[in-house]
Symmetry: D3
Subunit: 143 residues, 6 copies
């Protein structure tokens, strides 16, 4: 019986944003009912935590799935576009979609993947996890 | 090459219980040997943490896998039947099975699923995680 | 040699806000230099954690410094005026002062004290602690 | 201008108990009203965290305020009398007083002090902190 | 439609090590460039956290996937070979491979599996997780 | 009755070191007995957490006790002299004293104070806290 070893590196980083839940496709009343406190006009905000999960073989010389400096460079690039911004106003992607934890996770997955594809590395982005707070988070990936 | 996106929302909640490990199917001696300190006659207790993992498509209008208010209502219902109770005495399910972390996790999975099935939502309960403390937890699901 | 016993109860609660660092008493350039990323026009936000520290004798009958239900009622009142708001726009106190961690801590101390004074309890508010994130916080009190 | 250096070592440990809030000096109705869910007949329980704060000079040879092995021995002794017990039934001190966080903190302070006094060490127990959960704790000391 | 229940128990433990990143298969310059601060000659160290994930049926009598005392015995054995050691000097396995989080995770997986195989238990080691710090970890398993 | 307001800002940062407990003033046998596992020849290491507590009036214009950028610059300077080093070999201060949590805390207090004194700020360093791990820490200050 053979066995297939796998290793997955995870890296965690932080950023803080303002946001407001509001969909132009719904009436004011529907928005209020659907989003509750998150519909509050001037927005509020959170300390987000982003985790990236990277799957791949362990390099026999360096002992690494991917060099952490590369991961940190990518995550720095991705989060600096969000950090200390108000998502609805300052980040074009959220002009058209509600900045829910789900949508921000999907956005981060796409951005990390984009940056990762520019490296010539056998590593695969298996998923990202985005925490809005310690009691709420979303995992997003593509099979 | 196509890709299948997936998103999984996780929600965390807390409750506190008393419990005692004792199986009527074993002798006193076997109980003592198997359960150690947890066999202590009048029971002890824990701050439990329950996490529910919900898998589904992201609604293009609301940006949500499921409305968090619905999740919170379900989890409130499920945990209020356990919170500040002594599991062996106060919760019928644990009259017949030992209230181990494994069994409480299975119980919570069943109760969350029961409540979730009454909503008309495309969301799927992929698993629950139950922490007895920060160093011990159980994931329970059904494939 | 006599000894003076003391007991101090601490209660922790959470709220989320948007805010922006901007002082009308400084030029745009001074604001940018002083506040860095926090000067960002549309604001950003945080998950705040507020802790109230209450000092007093332990009641010999109830075994309590103060009934936790009273503390929770006060903290609920104080934080619900801030939760899911944009401090600069939605909370009058921060129309005139920069919503820094220091100023929000002072504001919370004042509000908790105000509410506490309406109870007839021998308990004393020794200080409050306000976390902007896990790496930055302010203790505020009055001697 | 002279300065007085001080150093304070803190050690953290864990134990789990069952307990029930009930005072024989109050009517059933008063108990229910005062203690709410904690009045629940068969009790519930918590993962307690106990921290001991020890103040003293740093020994110039060992670089220590007190040897950690001594601290751990004391805390092991104190917590093993509580761990996996139901406080109301199994710990005599709580036959006569309600096992609130305040009273358990006072009890732990007394027990740690008792054990510490048997060592010939210049160290002083400045206070103990007892967490019932991450949102509620009590500091207890004697001036 | 049938459903396949599964339960997975997780246990968390701590150990502290010194280590240095250095590969004899690379030049000094390549080592410095690849490993950055971790190449520092005399090494540095971390508080590692090891989690073992054990999959199996819940025993209908004991309510357990595996007896926690057995798990703790195994983890104690595995971590005591690493705790308070300098991995490069004191642990033979890391004489030949760089003690990266990836390699330490693989090593721990192998050692836990080895010990587990000596028990007659239906439980399966699905993976281990090793944290170097709260912002970096590796999951390792075999399919 | 007048009241004296006070505000104290706390900033938390991380660094990782190797160290070994060994005092040339004690015999090998005394060292082994006093320091236990920490006496291990090649050393081990930890993820340290350093917190600096800064006391002062809140500036009425900026709303700050001290500008966080200044604090971060100081802490960066102090911790970069320790981070990823082996304290006994790489940091002169620990050639002559055992790198216990107590001594490292005292060292950090001195270094932060030194850097702080070069700024013209009314702020006062009330103490530092150094965590060796989440269960052990030392507060150090000067009255």
């Amino acid at each position: 019986m053979t066995s297939l070893p796998w290793a997955r590196l995870a890296r965690r980083t932080h950023f803080s944003c303002g946001h407001r839940y509001y969909s132009p496709q719904m009436s004011e009343e529907e928005n209020r009912k659907t989003f509750g406190l998150c519909y509050s006009e001037h927005g509020h905000g959170h300390n987000y935590v982003l985790e990236a999960y990277l799957l791949g073989p362990i390099d026999p010389v360096t002992g690494m799935v991917i060099n952490l400096m590369q991961v940190d460079e990518i995550l720095k690039k991705v989060t600096s576009e969000l950090d200390h911004r108000h998502l609805n106003f300052d980040v074009p992607a959220f002009a058209e979609q509600v900045p829910t934890t789900e949508n921000i996770a999907r956005y981060c997955y796409g951005r990390v993947l984009e940056e990762l594809n520019q490296l010539q590395s056998p590593v695969q982005l298996s998923s990202v996890r985005l925490y809005e707070n310690e009691d709420l988070w979303v995992d997003y990936g593509q099979l």
